[in-house]
């Protein structure tokens, strides 16, 4: 089937619109992914907070807590985990925030945050799992 000149123009324009929409949706998706990645959950109303390490990372990943809050780290990955403050591998930023050894997959590790500040952390065994705990009033 032959396509006339004006039809070609309409099809071309339609195609362009679809491409722009797809790119837009992709960008929006990327944007929302990024937002959730850097989004902070305000948990200052809780005295105890749980963070779970799953295959897609720490959940919640970034939290705000009050000084004195106890954070408990667990995993459902079926392998050991090792929460610790940055930097990897020395954990020097907040050296007490470090389980110091692997925590078995069916065990948890808790830490009471007393120092105010923004503490980036990671899993020492798989350093690509990362998050942030902000301790503030």
């Amino acid at each position: 089937m032959k396509i006339k000149g004006s039809s070609k123009l309409y099809i071309g324009f339609g195609f362009l619109c679809v491409v722009v929409m797809i790119v837009g949706i992709f960008a929006l998706y990327n944007n929302s992914q990024q937002k959730s990645d850097f989004e902070f959950h305000d948990m200052r109303g809780q005295k105890e907070v749980e963070i779970l390490l799953s295959d897609d990372g720490y959940r919640p990943k970034n939290i705000v807590i009050k000084p004195g809050t106890v954070v408990t780290f667990s995993t459902d990955r079926g392998t050991s985990h090792w929460p610790a403050s940055n930097l990897h591998p020395t954990h020097s930023i907040y050296s007490a925030f470090d389980s110091k050894e692997p925590v078995a997959s069916d065990e948890v590790w808790s830490f009471k945050f007393e120092r105010k500040g923004e503490w980036n952390y990671h899993d020492h065994l798989r350093s690509y799992f990362q998050g942030t705990i902000e301790v503030a009033d």
Binding site: V20, V23, G24, I25, A27, L28, N30, N31, Q33, Q34, D37, F38, D55, D56, G57, T79, S80, N86, L87, P89, T90, S92, I93, E101, P102, A104, S105, N120, L125, R126, S127, Y128, F129, Q130, T132
Partner: protein
């Protein structure tokens, strides 16, 4: 609209502004490094590996402490981001971007990325598939990508071993590296590639010894003690990796490094190891003039170590040099008034050897056309990169 937002996230904020929040931290601290990493991570999430490396280059150029604290390790971190934020979402290497320039700082990005890839899949068969893939896709612009892949795999095998959480092997280096070395040996690959994998295992081991991880410790009196009784095929990989980490044992002194390596009885190892040690000094002592200061030190040691010392400096400034401008300090070394004759020839041999591992031939030719020094241009002509 969404497209505009996405693009603006990459381009609207000047890099100086993006990093300005980090200025509140002490200028030479882990805290400021950590802050810079967070910004690099944001750039990675907004614009991928290429955007992260634009920010990385900015840091290297503008923040002395970043450059001085080991650009190879910093590049590892971008490999971490790419693995978590891209690979773990798509599980498909085809969907990942590996842009030109991501090989800077001794292929640190690839060490970081591949070590996690193999940590999660510690199988020799998988390593072979990944390294064949990387080779096919990237070797045109990254000449050393294949061998880098096998090296990173050695890291990954070692990480997978301690991942098990079996603390009964802690403190016993032989138990820790036994399985990883075996897995390297099972690779259906060239001897040099298997050896590179062994080096990757020892690289991680020595790092753990330095940082005191997994119950290990570094023997400052006899750094090479773990290598002496290794099997033949593991011996050089072991010496090679320990040789790269003599910084603290030698207190960053060329003379002290000579004193350590000259104790080694294996024929010819001492000179090669001095070269490695001196090169690695520049990873964490990478000021604007360190390479020239060390060059003077090279002329104060025994003559037989002089060529290795000079070539080690060249290796160091290329491996840890200003991304995209690695040749500058290397040529400063080779064209220095102290360097002439056979020392200069060896020096330029090292320059070309290093640059051709980092960049394709076309890029090396372009560097030759920069006329950085008379002796460099002469070497370029001699090597056939440019003609009269």
């Amino acid at each position: 609209m969404a497209v505009a937002i996405f693009i603006s996230q990459q381009k609207s904020v000047p890099l100086s502004e993006a990093f300005s929040n980090c200025e509140s931290y002490p200028k030479r601290s882990d805290a400021i490094l950590d802050c810079w990493y967070q910004v690099l991570h944001e750039y990675h999430n907004a614009g991928g590996v290429a955007a992260a490396f634009v920010a990385f280059d900015y840091l290297y150029e503008n923040k002395v402490y970043f450059a001085e604290t080991g650009c190879h390790l910093h590049a590892h971190r971008i490999g971490d981001f790419a693995f978590f934020d891209s690979f773990l979402i798509h599980h498909d290497l085809d969907k990942l971007s590996f842009p030109e320039g991501s090989q800077v700082c001794g292929y640190g990005f690839y060490h970081g990325f591949i070590e996690h890839l193999i940590q999660d899949n510690p199988s020799p068969q998988y390593v072979r598939e990944v390294c064949d893939y990387m080779d096919k896709r990237l070797s045109g612009m990254m000449p050393l990508i294949r061998i880098t892949c096998f090296h990173g795999s050695g890291h990954g095998f070692a990480l997978a071993e301690v991942d098990e959480g079996d603390i009964t092997i802690w403190g016993d280096y032989e138990k820790i590296i036994n399985v990883p070395l075996q897995l390297c040996g099972e690779l259906q690959a060239e001897e040099s590639e298997i050896s590179e994998c062994y080096e990757g295992v020892f690289n991680v081991l020595v790092s753990w010894m330095e940082t005191g991880e997994y119950g290990l410790s570094y023997n400052y009196q006899d750094p090479f003690w773990i290598c002496v009784n290794q099997h033949t095929e593991y011996k050089w990989p072991c010496y090679y990796e320990v040789g790269q980490k003599l910084d603290f044992a030698s207190q960053y002194s060329v003379k002290n490094a000579v004193a350590i390596v000259s104790q080694i009885s294996d024929e010819g190892y001492d000179q090669r190891l001095l070269q490695l040690a001196v090169g690695n000094f520049l990873q964490s002592r990478n000021s604007a003039t360190a390479h020239i200061e060390y060059l003077s030190d090279c002329f104060e040691i025994e003559d037989r170590y002089l060529p290795s010392c000079v070539q080690g400096l060249v290796a160091g400034v290329v491996e840890h040099g200003n991304p995209g401008d690695e040749q500058k300090k290397a040529v400063e070394i080779c064209s220095h008034e102290l360097v002439g004759g056979y020392i200069q020839r060896g020096c330029y041999e090292e320059v070309f050897g290093r640059l051709t591992k980092l960049y394709p031939k076309t890029r090396v030719t372009a560097l030759c056309n920069q006329s950085l020094s008379e002796s460099f241009t002469e070497s370029c002509i001699e090597k056939g990169y440019i003609s009269l």
